[in-house]
């Protein structure tokens, strides 16, 4: 029985791209949340944390509406940029980024907040700008948090089901990722293929989580 590897490939592709985008997005967001205070900060923090408690289908439903050309945002995208996000890989990436945002932002925010303020102040008294301080003092001291954020985002995106089903539409080669493929195969009573997909996801998830715990155990703590 030949196994179609495309869903697994698609899953890893989606997880990798989502993680890179989340890292670029999560660093400035968590930096601002950790080090500044402004009106409405609580609202932003709440919005970022919403995917933790919201059923994935709810988020998927709203994104589906937003992306669909029948509605204002989707219509505007199609008119101006000729982009259709609904039932596309790009749409999946955007959905995954929103859905996994707290898994990147929370560890990074905790990491930034665990660095003693005096280190940042010392860097300032040594004439270094906030950007140099971020690059040369903060990031090296939150390596464990960076790793946690990257791995949790990657693993969480691999495990997505509801959001990708709602906005991806389960199209083979485009949006049918491994988690959806398992469901399909079980429905078709093709347990052998389901075993392969499920087994790969299980082993990969276990391995990367184990690696994170092992590395974090050895990482030196900031005093």
């Amino acid at each position: 029985m030949p196994i179609d590897w495309t869903p697994l490939l698609l899953s890893f592709q989606l997880a990798a791209i989502t993680t890179v985008i989340l890292l670029l997005l999560g660093l400035p967001i968590s930096y601002v949340i950790a080090y500044s205070n402004w009106r409405g900060k609580a609202v932003v923090e709440t919005l970022i944390s919403m995917p933790l408690v919201l059923p994935p289908s709810v988020l998927g439903f709203y994104l589906l509406l937003a992306f669909s050309p029948q509605h204002a945002f989707g219509h505007w995208l199609q008119d101006w940029f000729n982009i259709t996000l609904v039932f596309s890989f790009a749409g999946l990436v955007i959905g995954s980024v929103i859905f996994s945002l707290p898994f990147m932002v929370h560890p990074l925010q905790n990491g930034f907040q665990s660095v003693p303020v005096s280190l940042i102040e010392a860097s300032r008294t040594l004439g270094k700008s906030d950007f140099v301080t971020l690059r040369r003092v903060l990031l090296p001291n939150i390596k464990a948090a960076l790793l946690t954020g990257v791995v949790l985002s990657f693993a969480h995106t691999l495990g997505e089901f509801g959001v990708v089903l709602m906005i991806g539409g389960n199209i083979p080669g485009v949006s049918k990722v491994a988690s959806l493929a398992i469901y399909d195969e079980v429905e078709g009573l093709n347990y052998a293929a389901a075993h392969v997909y499920a087994g790969v996801l299980l082993v990969v998830s276990f391995t990367i989580l184990l690696a994170v715990y092992a590395i974090n155990r050895r990482a030196p703590r900031v005093p």
Binding site: P116, L119, S123, T125, R136, N141, P223
Partner: protein, 294 residues
């Protein structure tokens, strides 16, 4: 030309117990060594942080060597980075991921291996330069913090209780080092300290602060010695043991840190005294023998 250092600052801040209004007006010739002293929570660290630009004053003006660092009326505030300062934090604030050498190099404006080596040898850290801060003793960490603060060749050195954690021998060595660096680098230095020994050894001027106000300014002699009558000794001591010998009592006392002396006492004097109590040993018409120890 000797340009002055002028501070006039107001700041409401929250100290350990209450809200306090810091209100100070001070000046000093540049390149002086100033000791800032007073009870804890009186605003010493807040004053130091305002000079460094780490805390914004509510009102006032800071002029250092002709440069305006802060002026509320002119709405001018120079960032911490743009002030020529070195700051030694109470907790040292060394970068844990960098070695001793890298910590010092971090403070450089441009690479200068000779200057780094000079700082390392002045602070006797050449052998430890590859160590991480966690591998160093308290005294060594303190010296790294000092060397790092001096790396960018600041004009104003701010020291927040730099000697508090050190034992007597190390303290004496660091006194010499601080005095030498202050001279050689033509620094203006402000040091927060509670220790009269440190202050007399190093400072040309003392600022005494209490409850947010400057209560006394002058040389260490003017500030600390003016109320003393000559020939009278007051020593603070702790009672280590009380024992009775015939008709008198003998108290074993811990004086000036580590010296133990025995003194005679009457039954009245020891009546309410317990081991561990802190007492004052006073003596009139006292003509002591003076000898230098080294």
């Amino acid at each position: 030309m000797e340009s002055a250092f002028e501070i006039k600052l107001k700041k409401t801040f929250v100290s350990a117990a209450a809200q306090l209004q810091l209100d100070v007006e001070l000046s000093a010739p540049s390149q002086s060594f100033i000791a800032l002293t007073g009870p804890s929570g009186s605003g010493k660290t807040t004053l130091l942080r305002m000079l460094a630009g780490l805390t914004s004053p509510d009102d006032g003006r800071i002029v250092f060597a002709g440069d305006v660092w802060f002026d509320r009326l002119a709405r001018a505030e120079r960032s911490t980075q743009a002030r020529s300062i070195g700051f030694v934090f109470q907790d040292y604030a060394l970068f844990p991921h960098l070695s001793v050498r890298e910590n010092i190099e971090y403070g450089l404006v441009k690479p200068d291996p000779r200057w780094v080596h000079e700082l390392l040898s002045l602070t006797e850290l050449v052998d430890q330069q590859r160590h991480k801060p966690q591998q160093l003793s308290g005294g060594q960490q303190q010296r790294v913090a000092l060397a790092r603060a001096l790396a960018r060749r600041p004009k104003l050195l701010l020291l927040d209780e730099p000697l508090s954690a050190l034992d007597t021998a190390l303290r004496a060595r660091l006194h010499d080092l601080l005095a030498e660096l202050h001279q050689r680098l033509k620094l203006t230095t402000i040091m927060v300290s509670h220790d009269l020994g440190d202050i007399f050894r190093l400072a040309q001027q003392v600022w005494v602060i209490g409850g947010g106000k400057i209560t006394d300014v002058g040389t260490p002699q003017q500030v600390f010695l003016k109320h003393r009558s000559p020939g009278k000794f007051n020593l603070h001591a702790r009672v280590l043991a009380i024992r009775r010998e015939d008709v008198v009592y003998v108290l074993s006392l811990l004086v000036s840190g580590n010296e133990i002396v025995d003194v005679l006492a009457s039954a009245d004097e020891v009546a309410n005294l317990q081991v561990g109590a802190t007492i004052v040993v006073a003596s009139n018409a006292f003509s002591p023998l003076l000898q230098e120890t080294r």
